[in-house]
Structures are given as structure tokens and as C-alpha cells.
Symmetry: D2
Subunit: 291 residues, 4 copies
């Protein structure tokens, strides 16, 4: 299978490498070409321009955001040059609105379109252990399932409309952000009554909340270890905004998301935008007069 | 060791039974005397009045709320008649303010006072597998630790001021309520985009959130199974109010708790106060125009 | 008419003086006796103890809060010694719950009870131009109306249950606090886009919002003139709490009040509790990275 | 002065008519041409296409939203054909981001650009009594001031960057929406304690809040008179969204706007999007179990 891969950030590079090492022919493209050097050294072909990816069987994209996705897939002319019955698997976290628009454009071109955003950070991607949230035509998905199985430990299927996977990804990130905010508020409360954040949070993640979300972020909040960022506050605000947009489009009030938006903005306004998004805990602490 | 036990609701009965069956001499009291019948049949002595519990080595109380606690421990005259150096272990979820007041009253009487609220529902209590959140003088706690070990799988220690355990319990319940609200909002969002709540929530509790809080409440929300209640919405509002009181007392803003308060009130105003507190999910669904 | 007056703070003193100067016989009491000196010099009699006020025709009280009211009216024994058919006019801002409790106690004693909290600061009280928010039995109110007409420009009647006036007063203060918060948020927004707060707020109070609430508080926010306080932030938090209590009791969600609570707490946690409550604007400014 | 006028909705028609009747030569354009019939009957010239407006001295636009503005001013080619040193006065409520973009495009073309959104509904526009919120180069504004004086009673100047007027307009509408929400919450609270909304709201607008915003909207809320709409809920949500966008762009938390967003969405999800925006009061009433 000839595979094209657009977007070689930390996540994309790790995913593309797994596909390459599984024996597929891979052509790669990235805005900054040097990001492709390692993959080329391992046998990938470098595309000089996104449109060179038009002649693959499966195009996988993992681009930074709505703007980059639109620019590389649509504005470059790539989609317009793709062969009918090729399949595009878009694994980025994009807005529901863009997902709907891309779905329509691919249908018009008779190019298959699967949305498959992922859960998991770089090291999980490197291990081929991502959780993949997929939606789109089932028969089309079946064609690319072998590639997804290389990148992930499990594919979760959410229906035949691609945007359904995107709203699930957005809701999952909202759930993470809410867990962070909850721990931040709870930690500020117990600290103001003389209990250490660590004591409180490790009890939680040792009992009712013994799962990765609470263990990882609870640890970061307890130790105030927000740098280097695994996922920046500014990106956290972007993802909360995606939830708010999806909620407004579908007429779904989302009061926790409103609180999250304001607290991320507060953190960024204080100059903390480059901290890990768990650093939104600094907002609860500051407002509580701590430190 | 002569143990007194006041408050034989579903939780208290299960806890008292374990202590009795471990071989201790137990005197029990409950406002409705028939709640003691089973324990008396197993060998416990029935106190006709709370003050009869004054002559034990360790008094354990598991009363419904602040009002019941104050009435049984203080107003009845029980505390005033307790022997110096006896120990009172208060395992109920009470306010930080009452915990501080009781601490002072016990100190004045030279009666030991340990706060030890618990995590876990009735079946966990019956199995002696509670997680016990304890605070108070360490030497005093050591005296009663054998009793705690009968009732719980682990005792978490939060400091030598009893109220510290109460604030941790209140913050833990706040964390649970926030997790419920987050799942409710997220489920409404994905449903309004055509994804089933079950698909979304079982993915969450199968990945980043594979822990009891998300598995149990996620299942209830997905199946809209809010009755019979494990913990009623009206009690949920009571516990959110305890968090708000503690936050106001200690000058700790708690914006998620404000949202929770309003949503619990909304549910109760619609007549749903007797549902399980996961039933606050009906609020998010209704506001989103679902069903 | 023999009038008793309990509570001679800035407001109470001004109100009692007007009654005295209108020719009534007035007996006054205040916790700190020297607050009565000026009134005694003008002809009032000083009560050494609240219970000396029991033999008046009309008792007016203007005490600081729930605690002071309960202490002076009930705990002192004053109410128990009042003659049947005397009337107590309680003009303080107290909780709905206490208003209901006092109503019942007065009924049991056959003492008339009118709730009559006021709108207006000290200088308005001195001018006898208060707006009086009254509730209670209409015939009883008619008896004291001549006294209310001395203190106020207008009496607004809200029904025959005294607590109805208290909930209106609480809701009016909530409306003021919301107007302050709205101006604070709007001012932060325009400032972050290069527009002066003064330019924005004076346009508002010169057009759609040309009324005292926006003129007075808009001016304070624009000039950041929060000291000396006309009404302290800590009292603002107290009044927002009264709104939250009334809303919880009556099952009325009140999301703006939740935001107000957190922002007042934030301000107090930063050490600004003694500023005027318009100083909650410092919270919006700080969160927006201003100054 | 040759004046072009694009956008003849209820507001635009009234404004254009005043300019025409003041003796200016006016060319008009509207997407639905029949909206221009009355003005043509009074002497205006009809443009068949937006680009015919390129040859005026002053172009005034009053288009529905960002999309319509972009389409008519930029996409049509109108701006590109305008003579250097002509002036465009944009009186619509548009986003800060679009205002900034238009400012840059006009500068590049050496066409003057004044932002001048207005406060006031149709009858105020008809009377030439609008309040005009203006920003842009002061010398350019001076050129068009005679036209503004025909349409409005007063021009408020907010600085030399056009977007400054737009953020003030957005903040003013946020202030109105917050006043509506505040009255809605307060009214629900007093109603749940047996006080009529009318009694409460007319007291407010007779005392501290005796200004148009509270009188008009208070009356509508008290009488539950939300139809026909003066300004629809769906437009209210659009304007709250403009505030949220401006706040996110400038890093200004805006917690009241988050509450407003959710409550407008709630109302629209229940099918009430065509009510007047004061109809957001139905949300507070419903949540409080009223009616």
C-alpha cells in the first residue's frame, strides 16, 4: 500500500515511522522539510509539495490545527488532485465545522474520508499504542484498518459521519481539562485548610480515581511541575474553544467549558501560556491567596 | 475494648457489625431503636439514650449530618459525660466549621477526637474495605487504629487537626460531583452530534479514565439509570454546599462548585431530588433540548 | 407614640434622629453606648439594656446582621417582654430564614412584625429620603407608616409575609453587585483594546444606563476609587451569600451570584476585603493582565 | 456630498432616509432590491450592484453581520474600486477581528475608514436620535461628522483605531445582556418567595435603576412579553459571541459572558430563538421550577 503522510510534528513523525517500519511505502511531507530527514534516512520518500501526495492509496494527515489542515489539504490543491477512491485519514484534532466541510469536499471528489483523531502523547505514539477515535464510512474504514492497527492499540468507532470522531475527541479533551481544573480547585481548598496537595491528590488517584488522567495530572499539580509542557496552555485554550464552538453549533450548554475558557485565559494573561495545561492550577492557587 | 457506636444507617450498621464480629464489646444507639435489632441479636448492647454511650473506651459516630451530630453528641449531654481520655471517632461527613467546633469542645473535656470520614458505599463498608480519611492527634489515632483496620482497607492520614480529614472528604465528594457533571455535559455534546452517550463514556472509562468513579457513574449516565439512588441528589447538594462553605471560610474561589450548586438545584426544582446524584445529568440533557 | 430604636450605626443614628426631631418620644439602645450620646443630647432616653425597649409602642431595629439581630431581639429577652400588640419594625438586611423565624416568634407573642429594609446610604437616611421595602400585615404596617414616612421618601409594599421584603432587599443588592461586576468585566475588555474605562463607562451612564447605580459605581470603577469604602467587599460577600442561601432554600438557580461569590472571595483573598465592594473590579483587571 | 448607503434593513432604511431628507445625494443598495423602493421614491438612486457605490464621497454601510459585511464590501470588489480619500463609515455591529482586518484593507487602499456602530432601535434611528460610538482617524471623522449629526443625537469618540468603537459597542451589548440576565435571576428568586416580578422590577427601575435599560427590559420580563422580538435571542447569542471572541483575542476573562452564552443556547435549544432576547428570562424561570 502506498501511504502519504502530511504533518511530521512529534506525533506525526512517530506514527509515520511505525508505518514505514511495518513495511509500507511511505511518502512524507512537512512544512519545515528537515522534519522529514530521519524518515527519509529510514526509507521514506520526501514530497517537495503537498500535491505530490495526491497519488497514494491512503493519505494520512496529522496537521497542527484547522488552519494548517485547510491550507495543506485544500488550498494547496492536494485534495483536488487525489484519485477517486483513494482514502484520506485525518488524525488531527480539528473543529467539528471543518470536519463537516472536509467531509462534503471529499464526497464531491469521491475520495474516501475517515476522521481518526487519537488519544495519547508522543511516547504512546512511538510505541504504536494510541487509542484511535474513528468515524466515517465503515467499508472505507475497513480498508485503512491495517494502518490504524500499526499506529494504535485499539480503534473506537463512533459512526459513519466523520465529524462524530472529532466531537468525541473534543469532548475527551474537555473531560481531561475538567479533571485538571477540578483537581486544581480541590487542591487549593485543602491547602487553605492546611492539607498538602500531594496528600489529597495521591489519595484520590489511589482510590476512586486511580486512572492515568488523575495520576499524571494529579502528580504535576501536586509537584507544581508544569514545565516543560507536554501540552501547552495555549493549546488547551484552543481545544476548549473547539468544545465551545461545537456546543454552540449544536445548541448544547456547557457551563464547565465556560469556566475553563476563562481560567485558561487568566493563566495566559499572566504570561503562563507556555506552561503545560495542568498549569491552569496556578490560577486556582493565586485566586485563593496561596503562595 | 468497649466500643460505643452511634448512628446505625446502612453504613453505620455495616461498620458496627464488623467491629462486633471482630470480638469487641459494642454498645449501639440509633434514633429509631429497631435499626439496632440485628446487632443486638448478634451480641451488641442497646443504649436507651445517647448518654449511655459515655462510658466506653472508644465512641464511634456515623450520624447523618451536622444537625444530627450536634444533637446526639453535644445537646444530649453525651460529650459532657464522657470520661477524660476516652476517644471519639467521628466518621460522618460534616462541615469543616462543625469539625472545628467539636475539636474545641473535646479538647476542653480532655476527650480524644479523631475525624475519620470514609470513601465507599454500603457494600464496601460491609466488606470492611472502606478507605478511611483520618486526622487528629497521632497518638490518639494510634489507639483506635485497630478499629479502623477492621472497618477499612486503608487509613489515609491528613494531619493532626481533625477538620483536615473533613475538608479532604468534602473535596473528594466535590471531585466526584465534578466528574459526574463533566460526563453529563460531554454526553449531551456528543449526543447532539449523533454519538451515543454509551459509546463516548465507555471509551473514556476504557482509556484515560478507567477508574471506579468514571466506570460507575459513566454507566449510570449512559443508561440513564438514576433510580434507586445510591446517593440522592438532595444529599449531593448538601455536600456541594459543604464545599462552598469551606471555600468561603478559607477564602478559596471554587467556580466548578458554583456550577454544581446551580445544576443540583435545577434538578431538585424539577422534582428529581430523590434520584441518584448522577441524575444531575438530566439537567445537561434538558438544557440541550435532548428528549 | 413611644418609639424604641435599637442599633445606632451610621444608618440607624440618622434614622433615629429624624424620628426624634419629628417630635416622637424615643428611647435608644446601642451595644457601644457612646453611639447614643448625640441622640440623648437631642432629647432621647438611653436604654441601659435592650429589654428596656420592651415597653414602647413601636420598636425599630437596624442591627448589623443576623447574629446581632438574634442576640439583641431574642437572646436578650427583649421580644419575650414586649407587650402584645406592640409592633417591631426590623429595617436591617437579614436572611430570609431569620426573617421567617422572627415572624413566627413574634406571632407566638402577638407582637406585630414588619420587615422594612431600606435602599440608600447614610446621607440619604439623614435626609429622610430612603426607599423602604416593606412587608407584613397591612393593618400593622398602617400603624407604623407615619414613622416610615419620616425616614423615607417612599414605602414599597411587597406582601403580608415579612420575609418578602427581605428577599426583595437581597435581590436588589444582588442586582447592584451584578451591575458592578458587569461594568468591571466590560471595562477590562475595552481597556485591553485600548479604550479608557472612563470613556466606556461614562458613555453607558450617559445613555442606556443613566441611573444612580451605574453613575455612582461606574465612576468609582473608572477612577479606581475604592477607598474609603461606602460598603465593604466583605459586606458585599455577606449579601451575595444571603442571595445564595435564599436561592438554595427556594430552589432557584442563580448563576450570576455564583460568579459574584467567587470574585468577592478572590478579592478578599488578595487582602482587599476593606475596599468598597466596587473594588471587585480589581479582580477582573488582574485576571486580564492589566496593571 | 455624494453618499452611498449599503444595507437597508429597518435600521439602515431609517438612517438613509434622514440623510436623504437632509438634502444629500444618496445612492442606495440592498441585497433584496425592493427594500430600496421607498427611498428611491423619495429621490435616492438605486445601485444595481455594490460596486456602483464606489464613486461616492462617503460610503455608509449598515450590514447584518461579519459575513454580509465581508461579502458586500470586500468580495464584491467594492472596496477595491473606491477612490482614494473617499471615506467608508461602517455602522454595523461587527467583530473586533473583522474591524481590524477592514482597517488594514482600507489603509492599503488609502480609503478612509471610520467604525461607527450605534445604540438605539428603529424608532430612535427614525428620529435621528441615535447614540453613535465612533473611532478612527480624527480628521477623517471630522469630514463625516455632518452626516453622523443627521443620524444621531451625539457621537461618542473612542480613539483613532476603528476597532475601538466596535469593542465598545460589543461591551455595551454585553452590559445590556447582563442586565437582562440579572433581572431574570432576581425575578425568579423573588417569585419563588411569593413576590411578583412586576413589584420587584418596577421598584428597581423606580429607584437605583431608573434608566431605559431596566425600564424597558424590566417591563418585558415582568409581563413575559417577548414577542414580537425587538432583538431576537439568536442575535443576542451572536453578540455575546462577539464579546467572547474579543475577550479571547485580548486575554480578558469574562465570566458573566460565559453564563450568558449558555443561557441563550439553552433558550434556543428549547425552540425560543425567535423571542426577544429578554426571553432569556424563560430559562431562569424554568430552572427555578416556575410555571
Amino acid at each position: 500500500m502506498k501511504v502519504g503522510f502530511a504533518g511530521l510534528g512529534a506525533m506525526g513523525s512517530a506514527m509515520a515511522k511505525n508505518i514505514l517500519q511495518a513495511g509500507h511505502t511511505v511518502m512524507v511531507w512537512n512544512r519545515s522539510p528537515q522534519a522529514a530527514d530521519d524518515l527519509v534516512a529510514l526509507g521514506a520518500t520526501r514530497a517537495a509539495d503537498p500535491t505530490e501526495l495526491a497519488y497514494v492509496d491512503v493519505l494520512i494527515s496529522m496537521l497542527a490545527d484547522d488552519h494548517a489542515t485547510w491550507s495543506v489539504i485544500v488550498e494547496s490543491g492536494l485534495l483536488n488532485q487525489m484519485a477517486p477512491h483513494a482514502v484520506h485519514v485525518n488524525m488531527a484534532t480539528i473543529s467539528v465545522a471543518l470536519a463537516q466541510q472536509l467531509d462534503a469536499l471529499h464526497q464531491a471528489r469521491h475520495v474516501g474520508y475517515i476522521a481518526a483523531p487519537v488519544l495519547g502523547r508522543t511516547e504512546v505514539a512511538a510505541a504504536g499504542q494510541l487509542n484511535i477515535l474513528a468515524a466515517g464510512d465503515a467499508a472505507t474504514l475497513a480498508k485503512v484498518q491495517p494502518l490504524l492497527d500499526i499506529m494504535g492499540q485499539k480503534t473506537w468507532y463512533f459512526g459513519d459521519t466523520p465529524a462524530q470522531a472529532n466531537v468525541v475527541k473534543i469532548a475527551a479533551n474537555f473531560t481531561l481539562a475538567s479533571a485538571i481544573e477540578t483537581m486544581a480547585e480541590g487542591a487549593a481548598l485543602v491547602r487553605n485548610h492546611g492539607v498538602g496537595a500531594q496528600d489529597f491528590l495521591s489519595m484520590l488517584s489511589g482510590t476512586l480515581f486511580n486512572c492515568p488522567a488523575y495520576k499524571n495530572y494529579g502528580g504535576m499539580i501536586a509537584e507544581e511541575r508544569f514545565s516543560p509542557a507536554g501540552f501547552k496552555l495555549t493549546l488547551g485554550l484552543k481545544d476548549v474553544s473547539l468544545a465551545l464552538e461545537a456546543s454552540q453549533q449544536s445548541r448544547t450548554p456547557l457551563p464547565f467549558a465556560g469556566v475553563l475558557r476563562d481560567n485558561f485565559i487568566d493563566a495566559i494573561a499572566q504570561g503562563d501560556g507556555d506552561l503545560d495545561w495542568a498549569g491552569v492550577a496556578t490560577v486556582s492557587a493565586r485566586r485563593a491567596g496561596l503562595k
